[in-house]
Amino acid sequence: MKISEAYDRVKAIDWEPSYITPEQKTVETTKFHIHNTKPNDPFKTFVREYCEQELEKDDRHYALLEAAARLNTGEPDARWVEGMKFGLSNLVGVEYAAARAMGRMARTVAPVELRQGYMMQMLDEMRHSNLEMNVIRHHMRSWKDPVGFDVAAKAGASSVGSSIFRSMVEDLITSDPVETAIGLQVFVETAYTNLFFVGLSSHASAHGDDMLASTLLTIQSDEARHMANGWSTLSSLLQDDRNLPMIQKAMDKWSWRIHCSFGLGNMLFGDYFVRKRTESAKEMTMRWVFDDFYGGFYQKLEKFGIKPPPHLDEMITDLDWMSHSAAIYIFGAWPTFFHRYDGLNDDDFEWFEKKYPGFYKHFGGFWEAYGKCTDPEEGKLILKEMGGLPNFCQVCQRPTIFPRPDISQQRAFKLKDQTFIFCSDGCQEIFLEEPHHYVGFKNFYDLYEGKELSEIIQELGFVRADGKTLMAQPELEPKRLWTLDDVRKANYIVERPQPPAFR
């Protein structure tokens, strides 16, 4: 029997139960009109075939993991592996949240094809979470300084960098369930995970981290089906004109939201956690996201009445400085993280000036200062030399230094008797649509204002087994490791910065 015929027969087995109403059957409601649409599932996947395929993928990948554990495959590049302590810490929780999101979506929509796709995606996301934890464990066992990998899952919930990804994914899993499809399957999975999981896999491989390369590629092979889920959902929604304004609103929101989170991660990792470069993170993002996704997928939605995102121009010009602004933040706040840092050298400066003209003028000063603040004997913390951390955006949780600290778009806003800070027009607009969605997020200052830095590091748990040496270090191979005592001597007390001008 042909697959399409078998698929139609299986779909026909679906029924409406007599003991509950159709409304009672869908556990969560949606504002979108989707119940009577006729979706198409391009993969037509049955559970049996799905399980066979995933078994084959896992057999191939875990055989590599087994081999990597046994064979001496050489030491990967330290700048990359240390950076991945932070990178991987964010993914595990994001995947788990995506699984929850799929569960919500499966019990919201009526069409059985969509439900089937979502439920398989739910299994995929749990697989991804496991794959990422397994590669973390592999690195924990094989990397010369495993500290930091051991706290990855916990750090994903608490580090100052992780709040960017956490706020995005918490927004996703608490939005309207069908809006989640647009945010997750269209923007995260069709646009940005291609760059993150496929694009960065070539970096992983070039830096000797073949296990992560294999992990990322096998994850993305499932995302290929999620992309199709996203298109099935979107094309179903587009069958009903009443959905058009809501689709546009969701596209406008999530284009910006994912640019600020996954887009930022892509840029930072692709520019600052690599040593062997063939293209800049900006060039990669332009190719994968703006040419392939916006040019090849989003543009085709215009015939349905979908307009380009309102901040498209800004998203592109952001790329000139995004990775560098992100880097001075994460390097500046190094003691609050859990990996070793590799500051820039002359080759890096030359590359960045070539790919981002003006780089040295705007960021060189920071890197010169960073180089003078790495020796614990000198006792100088770059964080204190910089004047402390900046404000954080209430929506995206990025520090409000984008696109570049001297031209940042930060602003304050008063809602009733509370002051909120935003990084941009994009985030302020998102907030004003649904303030209740964002008011509760507690940032670094809400949690730690008034505390001395060594206290915070202890509270975060980012201290080695001896109880005094920091997990994070400002260099890959320092003469001596920084300790809590060194940080204490610098006497940095967290102070909330003044709010910016109100808008």
């Binding site: 042909k2 697959i3 075939e49 999981f197 096998t218 298109w231 040019g295």
Partner: protein, 96 residues
Amino acid sequence: MSTIKANHTVSAKLMGGEEAGIICDLMEELHEHVDIIDSGSYVSIETQQEELIFDMEEITEVMGHSYSVSNFLSILTTYKGFIEVNDDNVVIRDNG
């Protein structure tokens, strides 16, 4: 505000390895319009034509053993375009 420039490239990206190498060689041989880009961990099979068709019978012949859609999807890491999975082939099109 900028308009979005249309991009009509159709592509499949396969996980690097022996099977991907064989499929790339086959596609290059069968279709003049196909470009192969090797990025180390993955290879990209691209065209500016309307569609790419991966036929399992043709792949089986060059692979030297039976090769199914399921085997192919195990190494298809991503694609650009709109995909359709059938019994004996996988088609990726510029338009959905």
